[in-house]
């Protein structure tokens, strides 16, 4: 049984991610955010459950769909919004944008615009731990599309032969842009690929934050104790297209309905109400707090100045 406080934390995180994405999509539609913006809507339980199972001094590696990971590690909404608005106060001083948010303070090595490229980088964080002889672990997030890139296989193998403390977290949302995983792999249960590399793999319902938390905790235990890498495949589904401008018309409606009925926010809320014995009223309070925090972050970020072009050019001179 979980404490109410713990379940509250999980719900707060899941809900914060939901609100962050929803509000940012509005900003995008208003033309305030530009470029690529990949919402994590529908996948909130994975980052939340995995990060809840991590220690503060552990690392994560994120993806192009990375806002959820950043938030789940305790990233600051203000700096995130400022970044996606391209402001100097943002995580990357407005130079990175949505696809490049990194937050080394929370152990978040960063998002990545190159699908799959973060995987070996995460292995490298694990290698550093191994060389230093520490007991941290690294959780590497990636989705089904990245599994078809060679670095996925290479990295699994490196982590395996070097016994690195790495948790490969496969967020199988069943699409790479519009390509369904059934067309891109004969075996859509991609964790089965881990067997060929001698890596233990677990499958879990990616929409249930507690299930994710539990499975990841189990996986991390093995991995922190020096047995080398593990993989956790969390099946899920996006609540919309690949990025803000993709209506996702190729996603079959029943399938989407099925997953929306198992909405990770709803499930986390139910856990909190049932197991956490938290009243509707208290839950609403949490939600209110999250909404306010986000509103404040947006206000703050909108007021932040853009980076100075002159200063930027001066920096470039020094390159």
């Amino acid at each position: 049984m979980y404490s109410r406080q713990f379940l509250e934390e999980l719900y707060r995180t899941v809900y914060t991610i939901r609100v962050f994405e929803t509000e940012c999509i509005k900003l995008y539609r208003q033309g305030l955010i530009i470029g690529y913006f990949h919402p994590y809507l529908g996948e909130e339980a994975i980052a939340t459950g995995v990060c809840a199972a991590l220690r503060k001094d552990d690392y994560i590696v994120s993806t192009h769909r990375g806002h959820g990971h950043c938030i789940a590690r305790g990233g600051e909404l203000k700096k995130m919004v400022a970044e996606v608005l391209g402001r100097e106060a943002g995580y990357c001083r407005g130079r990175g944008g949505s696809m490049h948010i990194a937050d080394l303070k929370t152990g978040n090595i960063g998002a990545n615009g190159i699908v799959g490229a973060g995987i070996p980088i995460g292995v490298g964080a694990g290698l550093g731990i191994y060389v230093r002889g520490g007991d941290q672990v690294v959780a590497i997030f990636f989705s089904d599309g990245a599994c078809n890139n060679g670095v996925f296989a290479e990295s699994l193998n490196l982590a395996a032969i070097w016994d690195l403390p790495v948790v490969f977290v496969l967020e199988n949302n069943q699409y790479a842009v519009s390509s369904p995983i059934e067309e891109m792999s004969r075996i859509p249960d991609l964790h089965r690929r881990a067997e060929g590399y001698g890596v233990a793999a677990y499958a879990v319902d990616g929409n249930d934050v507690l299930a994710v938390y539990e499975k990841t905790t189990e996986a991390i235990e093995a991995c922190r104790s020096g047995k080398g890498p593990v993989m956790v495949e969390a099946k899920t589904y996006r609540h919309g297209g690949h990025h803000v401008n993709d209506p996702g018309l190729y996603m079959p409606e029943e399938r989407l309905e099925y997953y929306k009925a198992r909405d990770p926010v709803k499930l986390a809320r139910e856990h909190l109400a049932a197991q956490g014995q938290c009243s509707e009223c208290d839950i609403t309070t949490i939600e209110q707090q999250v909404l306010e925090a986000m509103e404040q972050a947006v206000e703050y970020a909108k007021d932040c100045p853009a980076p100075s072009v002159e200063e930027f050019l001066k920096e470039v001179e020094q390159n």
Binding site: I34, G35, Y36, G86, R87, C92, G94, R95, G96, G97, M99, H100, N112, G113, I114, V115, G116, G145, A146, N148, N149, G150, A176, V177, S178, S179, E183, M184, S185, Y250, A306, P307, V309, F312, L313, E315, V316, N319
Partner: protein, 337 residues
């Protein structure tokens, strides 16, 4: 079939978008030659991220319009293998930034195979990709990397700036018996230009004078061409007549066209979106200083991208890439004005 400049007013000329012109080129070559087929991510039902392959799946079916997983190195390698064995694949890599994943297949395999096999094998493959900045896509989706491929023996490098050239060059590239890297520009897809109704090709290795002039030669390619042309208009208002040369293909490079122009104008400005250090502009400058040394009245000016990864913020992004004002300034400098 011949090169038809497709200037407005010519008979049977329509206004087409750059991406539509590319689509036509693919469609015509797919119809003409059964050995042509297309591979890439999301190029089928989705029609490609920049809509260049729209409708091809419907007409040519999934055997010739092939959606690929995120395995760029290998589906490019598959293009190489298919080309060696008699096909004419057109491989699409969504961003030139992602060609960083396929360089072994392009450079060590495709570009070298003919040579390494003693001339017995050929690799008639086209690698279509897209580069440049301007859409707020940040450091990993905005690079201009033609200089890498320009440095590789055995590879042709094509960078069209207009709908007309895009169509004619893509058709030539597909018919070429050696590997061609064909780099489009994300800001050009929606630009329109005249394209002849009748079939035509544009020969690889033949540059184009996009604007005549006698005071200064400006060499530019891809998305820098419209910018330079617009700067040239402003300069004309100040009675400076710039000749604007678009080599269209960087390899082979129409060196003669550039040299002849410089010998007339005695002043050269080269404009590239790519980072200055080690860019193609430097190489063109080194050629011109060697072969037209005595004609040059002033040092060759290079206007180029800043020495930095492209930033996300739109103002910073703009500051990294040559703008009209930079071009005008460089022309003034080279003319000692």
């Amino acid at each position: 079939m011949s090169e038809d400049k497709g200037r407005p007013g010519a008979s049977g000329v329509r206004q087409l978008k750059y991406r539509e012109a590319l689509n036509e080129a693919l469609r015509e070559e797919l119809r003409r030659d059964e050995s042509v087929f297309v591979i890439g991510g999301g190029i089928g039902q989705r029609g490609g991220s920049y809509k260049v392959t729209v409708g091809l799946l419907d007409e040519f079916g999934p055997r010739r319009i092939i959606d690929a997983p995120i395995a760029e190195a290998s589906f490019t390698g598959a293009g190489v293998g298919a080309a060696i064995t008699g096909m004419r694949p057109v491989v699409e890599i969504l961003f030139v930034d992602f060609t960083s994943l396929i360089i072994d297949q392009i450079v060590n395999q495709a570009a070298k195979y003919r040579f390494m096999s003693g001339g017995k094998g050929r690799v008639p493959m086209v690698l279509r990709t897209q580069g440049g900045s301007g859409n707020g896509l940040a450091a990993q989706h905005s690079q201009s990397l033609e200089a890498w491929y320009y440095h590789v023996p055995g590879l042709k490098v094509v960078m069209p700036s207009t709908a007309h050239d895009a169509k004619g060059l893509l058709k030539s590239a597909i018919r070429d018996d050696d590997p061609v890297i064909f780099i489009e520009h994300k800001l050009l897809y929606m630009t329109e230009g005249p394209v002849p109704q009748d079939e035509y090709t544009v020969e690889l290795g033949v540059g184009d004078i996009k604007r005549g002039g006698s005071d200064v030669t400006i060499v530019a390619w891809s998305n820098m061409v419209p910018r330079v042309l617009s700067a040239a208009e402003k300069l004309a208002a100040r009675r400076i007549e710039a000749e604007v040369i678009d080599p269209r293909t960087l390899v082979p490079l129409d060196k003669q066209l550039i040299l002849e122009s410089v010998k007339r104008t005695e002043h050269l400005v080269i404009v590239q979106e790519a980072v200055r250090r080690g860019g193609v502009a430097s190489d063109i400058a080194s050629i011109v200083q060697a072969e037209a040394f005595d004609y040059l009245d002033a040092p060759i000016e290079i206007v180029a991208g800043k020495n930095t990864p492209i930033p996300f913020n739109v103002q910073l992004e703009k500051a990294c890439v040559p703008q009209e004002a930079d071009i005008i300034e460089a022309v003034q400098r080279v003319l000692h004005l």
